[in-house]
Amino acid sequence: MSLSITSPAFKENAALALADVDLQQALTHVERGFIEKRRKAAEALPEFEALRDEARAIKEHTLAHLDLYLEAFEAKAQHAGAEVHFAETAEDARQAVLAICRRAKARTVTKGKSMISEEIGLNDFLEENDIAPVETDLGEYIIQLRGEPPSHIIAPAVHVTRNQVEQEFRRAHAGLDPERDLSEPVSLLAEARAALREKFLAADIGITGANFLIAETGSSVIVTNEGNGDLTQILPRVHIVLASIEKLVPTLEDVSTLLRVLARSATGQDMSVYTTFSTGPRRPGDPDGPEETHIVILDNGRAEMLAGELREMLRCIRCGACMNHCPVYHAIGGHAYGATYVGPMGAVLAPALFGLEKTANLPNASTFCGRCEAVCPVRIPLPKLMRHWREREYERHLKPAAERGGLKFWAFLAKRPGLYRLATRLGLAALSRFGRQDSYASLPFAGGWTRHRDLPAPAAKSFLDQWKASR
């Protein structure tokens, strides 16, 4: 089975998104809420900019010695009693998880939020193998009910309005009193908790993601605001951590630096409500914890990124600030991207994970406004990396022939100033004959422009010609 990538239909997806009234209403929260919260949090911490530099340096250092830190992590985690599974591909990771499930004779697994799980299409895969995955993060739970992928990396159901959630719960929760008031987000959360309580207790295995893996201690770290992650990893007999190689961080001290920029960049909080460190399974005398801990560490194309220009993308700590500040994301939300990861970070990551052929729209669908780079806590030059993909696309002749031809013709002229003068002189004169107007509501070959706006008319005579005549 493979994850369905709908990025080739990006334009159609975007058109549908723009026409979706509920989605457009839901998206205003991103544009207003997240931005304002991050701004306030950043302003309240004088050393925020310096912390960003530190965070960047920590990740750069780790990436430069990633092999060593992976080995160190493995040794420490094993010492603490955990089993570490390296998975080169998405399929390897799915099989590793399935093997653990089979051995534990698992029927139900509870899940904390994990983008790696989305990346490898784990839920569908488990279901195909008669294992029922139950998402326990409120947002993930909502989209699981709706049969959708997440539309945001930290707020997976940000595209859903409160009304839609209420409808979904009334449909899915048998025995829910029709009189029960669900008009407030807290009441929705309480309802979800009630529905999930039994599932937590019945689950054989708990699967969580990891925000960080600490080489020094062999621990994994998750941050949540609902506490569902803790229940997911403490209650079942077996705990599986899904992570990828770039989650590695050398020390506890480093994690604390990264946590300080992560929460502020993501939600504007000083700290997430729950920050949970787990190191191996329950030890004799521990009051709780799983009997088995497995850590699956996925590569899926990342090792290749490490060696090239895309390496900087591996600094990403998945805070979501880039999409929160992206005008394209604000307009269409996450689903239109169609490749698990969305917004600017998705536009860089998705081609590396799923292939440029299928995802070439994503790095092109950016105005290069640079706001993502301006807020990225680890200072990833996202526009530069999107341009990297545009260059690969051009090199591999993946662009439509007409676009490439037009570009080549323009460049041919632009490289020959004398000819360019002549051509533009002729072009401007021809346009004047076509019917002199102040602006055009439609023009042949300019449909992309004039569909939604008028085109101000070119000058009758170019600036350079006028300048020459005036001197």
Partner: protein
Amino acid sequence: MPPSEVAGQTGKAPRVGLFATCLVDLFRPQTGFAAAKLIEAAGARVEVPERQTCCGQPAYNSGDRADAAAIARQVVAAFEGFDYVVVPSGSCAATISRHYPALLADDPSYAHRARALAEKTFELTAFLYDVMGMREVKASFSGAVTYHDSCSGLRELTVRKQPRALLASVDGLTLKEMKDADVCCGFGGAFCVKYPDVSNAIVAKKVAAIEDSRAETLLAGDIGCLMNMAGKLKREGKNVKARHVAEVLADMGDEPAIGEGQ
């Protein structure tokens, strides 16, 4: 380097090469004349080299690095003899000053020349304010204007206070800030024709913010963004005029606005 130093070295006003940009050249010549007038008013001499076409952004941002580099070499050769290169566009100025050095880094005969050119290339208002120390202009303009911060100028070159400070010295002008002046207008070069629906959603928000500011005139420092916003304002039947900020600063604010004939 302050103008006095240059003047001290040569005993003359600095020589500025005006890089007009392809859009000013073809769509908005009066912005070019306004830029030249301001550069001279600031005490520099201005020339417009004939061997200029475009900074190469269309190729660069479409992934055609080889053509972008060829055009970059052409710009370096045409402009490296000047004391300064001034560009009435934040995005083209940023292409030359922030991207050419990387684009030509592997070309042994151009790498250092690209770096040298980058050092002396400025967006117009930044040149006037930061380099020439200009603090006021002799211009009048009646009415309220709002100023859109184009993305590259703002985020790559930190152009923000310079145009506003100079506008504050224009007689009769009031600046009414729009909400989210620093948010993209949805132009993005080829983006706006490749993804017209998404671009439209972005510029529609911008037009609403412009309207809410209650200014009668929209100013910005990039013709690309201005054409996008002016075209949308016109399509929606809004009565807001769009002009390059240089035109108002050069006291040329009574000439036809963008899309109104020239």
